[in-house]
């Protein structure tokens, strides 16, 4: 705004003198603000605010502080909070101020409350009485303040307490009170719609209020109500139209004008309501044609506010039942937006077009040159909106150009949300309109490499499904697959380290499945390329599984390669990989088994994953009939435990086993019944409550069998259908477009733009018969998916697919992809034929732990200190005994030197590299420092450390990848590890990979364990605080421990021993009792209460975390036993 005079901070001194009357600043606040502006660094600001906050803390807790002072303090506290500092200790005082202060203080108190507290904050309960009192006050200002706060933050549960009072205010003589009351009710409606249902009649009264402000406020409620159920409010259409007419006719007081436009906010609100009411309703729409026409006509002035109204009006015209004349006018309006030199209007023009082209694609044609210009606009927002528009007008003829533009944009974009959003659209377009196979595969390659691991899981899944299911013609399918195989082989021959995991997974699946189609390709080459991927450190373990599955599927004949691979993997750290290597070995040796497990070319839509486990139904019903309790999921059990405490008001219900056995045993062969009964066993408890009505709940259960036998799946056949075209488009519209169509001759510099335009807008022109989007003239989509029995999401593939169902289906497909075409019957047996590891992936963590323990037994001599265990390949173990150099700690970065740390222990070593580690205890994390020493006289290149631990979170890591490590030098890398849930011991595994000669990568595995004790930090509290905290904690454990009696004061000695071993904080020792506190990093606290009980120490632990006391107790026991 030009009339706002810019004053800069240089005017600061002058301002202080000029401060008078109206703008009084309290001394302290002014001082605070002034000194902050004088500061130069963030650090200084922090110190200042810290001092300020402690001064405030002192003042608020002093009994001598008057309300007036409290008001100043509160303003200062609000200021500190705004700067981002925590002043939560003042919250309660804000409430007190609103409660006890005079009007002056109350106003600040209420403001502070509304700024400080969220809707759900528990302190808000304390405000309820104050609000009640003020709502009944005779002082208008107080009532206003109370209503203002109620309309902003109010606890949902307490609405009934104030509701009658707020309702009364709807008939208050003062309009400001009525207005605020209406908005308070609006707020109530938003957070608890049920509670205000009964006052709809009063809303109606507010709508007809004589004060325009009150009426306008009531529209917020109506907009919300009508959005939810437009049909119930159709009868109000007339009233809304009348109001809009009055507004347009200038019947409102001049006060409501904004830049000489009458009540624009009111107009926009009404237009929105009308468009909701007129949507897909011809008779209601007819009521509003006249007023919409008038709105379009009236908004002539060239000001933002008129454009705001016009925009809403255009949207309304295109939302309601169409009328030719209005559409024409609205289309012209859009032209004004799009052609405007003002960038904001241009943006809205594009947005309107995006909305409108769904009804009339030709409109885009009129503005093609503008659209082309916007496509190259320097503003990101404009560009993105243009692409959105192009997405809507894509057809088979312009798809290549548009997709190219979208991909160009995505390559230069680094906003995650935008990438995820747009890349999905590219994939959708590619699938719908691909002109040929090579383009499609190439585009999908781009999608995978740009979208990377941000991609929604359904993009790769849809793509693979499309490849796998194919269309009617097998020949075409095979060609597409061939292209894919060829393309991927080329990709894999290039640099692969930058490729996203999801792309690698797609490639390995396709190669595994279809590499045999390509006769000319050497199988050995495929195997080599895939094996190469396995060696890459950037490849995640999930991808490795995909790659191995692919290798399993590549046909026999290359046994030597496969056996080599299986051999090299059989010593892998990863149990899943080891298991797969075993499978690989078995299958490559037994071609008959392989033929049975992985039948080549089997139609895989035959596979149906029975996620309901209905094959167990017989077992379940037998068990139930034998009197077993029906299965309840854990959460349900929990709920019922709670319910049990209340009175049961339900009448006696049928017992479940009876109803179940009767329904499931009647016809075992019927899948419907079987899956019904499996549904029963899943939700049995819910059912038993409703059993009075004795109806089966068939929701969510697929009906495959009917009375007459198998039901053909009709609804799943969903060919990619476009938006139902605007068949209603009147002829005059077309003529209008024709009139505009002949464009001026292109000037030379515009030639390429024209060319681009012709390629972008091809297929939309009037000349060609394809004038509307998605009409039947459009060539049929290239890839038509076969109907699938358990396809849960339609293949039209809009991005608005229900995420639930798609994620469900995608999980199913991934499962089945991994195992290519496993025979459906008895998947269990086919796995159990591999006798080596009967447990599959689920047992992963467990068996890994076991392995580490076994390793530890084998290497007991190597336990060096702490809990670190060294696992090294036994071949080099003898040649290079671990050498632990104590001076390594000198290499710690300066900022870490002062932290308490453990001894340095050797992790692993080989002739060229040795690794040692050291644990540093930081308050909020455990730092694991790994020293990597080059023992040779030459430079070692490409050193990379990779550490995995499932139980811990890595908060940060530094220095784990080095380009080169000089001879005889040591590099330091450190990981900050967090433990969210306690475990007794967690095992770490890792590898370090390096190159001594180019192209020759060595890997050196290492592993170790960390104990919970490493993550325990002292919790420094006073005895009082301890007492308070003790009472608030719920989970407790009691146990007697050994008391160390070898010194004079057994209790003190024992506690000190524990303190040394576990970093506990001894809060206090009183007589024969001691209290100790600690926490898990900066997380859950644990309080220990110790009492000498004869020769034992009675330990009582409490924590908010259910498992933490057990682990701490375990470590205490160990520490005392070792003492």
């Amino acid at each position: 705004m030009s009339d706002v005079v810019e004053k800069t901070l240089t005017a600061l001194p002058g301002l202080f003198e000029s401060q008078t009357g109206a703008a009084k600043i309290t001394n302290r606040l002014r001082q605070l603000i002034k000194s902050i502006t004088e500061l130069t660094s963030k650090h200084e600001e922090e110190n200042l605010i810290k001092r300020e906050l402690s001064a405030i803390k002192e003042q608020v807790s002093s009994p001598n502080t008057t309300m007036k002072q409290m008001r100043e303090i509160m303003v200062r506290a609000m200021y500190c909070e705004m700067l981002g500092y925590d002043a939560s200790f003042t919250y309660i005082h804000a409430i007190k101020l609103a409660q006890q202060g005079g009007v002056l203080e109350k106003r600040v108190g209420y403001l502070a409350v509304s700024l400080f507290l969220n809707e759900g904050h528990e302190l808000l309960l304390l405000l309820v009485n104050t609000v009640l009192k003020d709502l009944q006050s005779t002082n208008l200002i107080e009532v206003c303040m109370a209503l203002t706060v109620v309309a902003q933050v109010f606890p949902k549960d307490m609405i009934p307490a104030v509701l009658p009072l707020v309702e009364d205010k709807l008939s208050h003589p003062k309009e400001i009170i009525r207005r605020k009351a209406v908005l308070a009710l609006y707020k109530f409606y938003l957070i608890a719609p049920n509670q205000v249902q009964h006052i709809h009649a009063k809303f109606c009264k507010a709508l007809s209020d004589k004060d325009p402000g009150v009426m306008a406020s009531s529209l917020h409620i109506y907009l919300q109500l009508i959005r939810e159920s437009p049909d119930s409010y159709k009868d109000l259409t007339g009233s809304f139209v009348t109001i809009l007419k009055q507004v347009l006719g200038g019947k409102l007081p001049v006060d409501f004008n904004y830049h000489s436009v009458p009540a624009p906010w009111l107009q926009i609100q009404l237009l929105r309501i009308l468009s909701l009411l007129g949507k897909e309703d011809q008779s209601t729409s007819e009521l509003m044609y006249e007023v919409l026409d008038e709105s379009l006509r009236r908004a002539e002035m060239n000001h933002n506010i008129t454009y705001a109204i016009l925009y809403e009006c255009v949207k309304a015209v295109y939302t309601i039942h169409p009328k030719a004349e209005l559409l024409e006018k609205a289309a012209r309006c859009i032209g004004n937006f799009v052609l405007s030199p003002k960038i904001n209007l241009k943006y809205l023009g594009l947005k309107a077009l995006t909305y409108v082209v769904q009804h009339d694609a030709k409109l885009a044609l009129q503005h093609q040159m503008t659209i082309i210009e916007c496509l190259d606009h320097s503003d990101f927002t404009i560009k993105r909106e243009t692409l959105e528009l192009l997405f809507r007008i894509t057809n088979a003829q312009n798809v290549t150009v548009i997709v190219e533009k979208m991909l160009d944009f995505l390559r230069s974009c680094n906003d995650e949300h935008t990438i995820i959003h747009l890349i999905g659209k590219v994939a959708e377009l590619a699938e719908k309109f691909a002109p040929d196979n090579s383009w499609f595969i190439q585009t999908m390659n781009d999608v995978f490499s740009i979208g990377g691991d941000l991609l929604q899981q359904d993009v790769p899944n849809n793509f693979l499904r499309l490849l796998a299911e194919g269309s009617e013609s097998k020949e075409e399918d095979d060609q597409l697959r061939l292209y894919a195989v060829e393309s991927y082989l080329t990709v894999l021959k290039g640099h692969t380290s930058h490729l996203p995991q999801c792309f690698l997974q797609v490639m390995s699946w396709v190669l595994g499945e279809y590499a045999h189609l390509q006769e000319s390709v050497d199988r050995r080459e495929v195997i080599r390329l895939l094996t190469q991927l396995l060696d890459q450190r950037s490849v995640s373990s999930e991808t490795r599984v995909w790659i191995l599955s692919a290798l399993t599927k590549i046909p026999e004949g290359q046994t030597d390669l496969i056996l080599d691979l299986a051999e090299s993997l059989s010593s892998s750290q990863d149990t899943v990989l080891r298991q797969q290597a075993q499978e690989l070995r078995h299958l490559s040796q037994d071609s008959q088994l392989r033929e049975w497990v992985l039948p080549r070319g089997a139609p895989w839509d035959g596979i149906e994953v029975d996620s309901s486990l209905s094959f167990l139904d017989g077992f379940v019903s037998e068990a139930l009939a034998a009197g077993a309790a029906p299965y309840k999921p854990p959460h349900q059990r929990q709920e019922e435990l709670c319910e049990d405490r209340a009175l049961n008001l339900e009448p006696y219900s049928f017992s479940l086993p009876v109803s179940l056995s009767s329904c499931s045993i009647t016809d075992r062969q019927s899948p419907t019944l079987l899956s019904v009964s499996s549904g029963l066993s899943g939700n049995s408890a819910e059912l038993s409550q409703k059993a009075g009505s004795s109806t089966l709940i068939l929701e969510g259960v697929k009906r495959v069998w009917g009375k007459d036998g198998y039901l053909p799946q009709k609804e799943a056949t969903a060919p990619p259908v476009d938006e139902p075209s605007a068949a209603v488009q009147p002829a005059s519209q077309q003529e209008a477009a024709e009139r505009i169509e002949p464009r001026p001759e292109p000037s030379t510099q515009n030639q390429d733009k024209q060319q681009l335009a012709s390629s972008l807008f091809v297929g939309l022109g009037v000349g060609s018969s394809v004038s509307l989007l998605g009409k039947s003239e459009a060539p049929p989509p290239r890839f038509r998916k076969k109907p699938r029995p358990h396809e849960s999401s339609s293949s039209s593939g809009t991005s608005k697919r229900s995420s639930d169902s798609s994620s469900h289906s995608s999980r199913n497909t991934t499962d089945s992809f991994l195992y290519g075409s496993f025979p459906e019957e008895e998947p269990a047996t086919s796995i159990s034929t591999f006798d080596h590891t009967p447990k599959s992936t689920t047992a992963n963590g467990l068996s890994q732990n076991k392995d580490t323990k076994e390793d530890r037994h084998a290497n007991t001599s190597q336990i060096l200190g702490g809990d670190m265990v060294i696992v090294r390949p036994s071949t080099i173990q003898d040649k290079h005994p671990p050498s632990v150099s104590s001076d390594l700690t000198a290499l710690l970065p300066a900022d870490l030197k002062d932290l308490p740390h453990s001894d340095v222990i050797s992790l692993t070593s080989d002739p060229s590299l040795s690794l040692s580690s050291c644990r540093l205890f930081r308050d909020e994390a455990l730092l694991l420092v790994i020293f990597i020493s080059n023992c040779t006289e030459t430079v070692i290149k490409d050193v990379a450390v990779q550490l995995t631990c499932e139980e811990l979170k890595t908060a940060s890591l530094r220095g784990n990848v080095m380009d080169c490590l000089e001879a005889r030098s040591t590099s330091v890398c450190h990981y900050a590890l967090l433990m969210d849930d306690p475990h007794t011991n967690v095992s770490l595994t890792g590898t370090v990979s390096y190159q001594t000669q180019p192209g020759h990568t060595n890997t050196l595995p290492f592993s170790g364990t960390l104990s919970t004790a490493d993550f325990i930090r002292p919790l420094v509290v006073t005895t009082e605080e301890y007492g308070k905290l003790w009472l608030s904690l719920s989970h407790d454990v009691k146990q007697n421990l050994k008391l160390l009696t070898d010194a004079g004061d057994p209790l003190r000695t024992t506690l000190n021993a524990l303190k040394d071993a576990l970093q506990l904080h001894v809060v206090d020792i009183i007589g024969s009792e001691g209290i100790v506190a600690c926490r898990l990093l900066s997380g859950a606290p644990c309080l220990l209460h110790c009492r000498v009980n004869g020769a034992a120490l009675a330990m009582w632990l409490r924590s908010p975390h259910p498992a933490l006391p057990d682990f701490i107790l375990y470590h205490c026991q160990r520490a005392l036993a070792h003492h």
């Binding site: 705004m1 009339d3 706002v4 005079v5 004053k7 901070l9 005017a11 301002l15 109206a22 703008a23 002014r30 603000i33 007036k68 303003v75 609000m78 200021y79 705004m82 700067l83 981002g84 005079g102 002056l104 106003r107 600040v108 403001l111 700024l115 969220n118 759900g120 200002i141 206003c144 203002t148 309309a151 902003q152 400001i176 605020k180 908005l183 609006y186 707020k187 938003l190 402000g213 306008a216 406020s217 409501f256 904004y258 624009p264 906010w265 009111l266 926009i268 933002n304 454009y307 705001a308 925009y311 960038i343 904001n344 241009k346 809205l348 503003d379 927002t381 404009i382 993105r384 949300h417």
Partner: protein, 156 residues
């Protein structure tokens, strides 16, 4: 409207009003991200920004940025005018408002905002009515404090 932020060219927050319940951590994160993004935009660019699933509407007045977050179906232009009307109100109240007025009297700026927008919706769009309401409350404060010397403001 989901929230409104006022910040300076230097990225200092001057006012924040949240109409949706969010945790302090989220608020801080959003503020940091938005301030950065908005400050990085060039003056000739449009005042709208697609950000996460929200739309950001911002406008710069002198050294101060006014920034509102609205939902996708909301009208961007009218939001710009809401910002403008708020600036007009501040201008009228303070008499040619500048950033310093808002820094030193931020609670007043909040009072005015609360009279204009309530719970994220326009409450009263008439400039006269909003200012009348504020003045009445101010006036009452003055009377109240002059009646009882105990509550007299300590003048600097």
């Amino acid at each position: 409207m989901q929230f409104m932020l006022l910040f300076s060219r230097q990225g200092k927050l001057r006012l924040q009003k949240w109409y949706v319940p969010l945790s302090d951590k989220e608020k801080k994160k959003i503020t940091r991200e938005l301030v950065q993004t908005v400050l990085a935009r060039k003056p000739k660019m449009c005042s709208f920004l697609e950000w996460r699933d929200l739309k950001i509407v911002y406008k710069r007045y002198a050294s101060l940025y006014f920034c509102c977050a609205i939902e996708d179906q909301d009208n961007e232009l009218i939001t710009l005018e809401i910002i403008h009307r708020y600036v007009e109100l501040l201008d009228k109240y303070f008499g040619s408002v500048c950033e310093l007025d808002i820094i030193f009297n931020f609670e007043k700026a909040y009072f005015i905002l609360d009279e204009f927008l309530l719970g994220g919706e326009a409450q009263e769009t008439s400039k006269k009515n909003v200012l009348k309401a504020i003045e009445q409350a101010d006036l009452l404060q003055e009377n109240f404090s002059s009646q009882s010397p105990h509550n007299c403001l300590s003048t600097p």
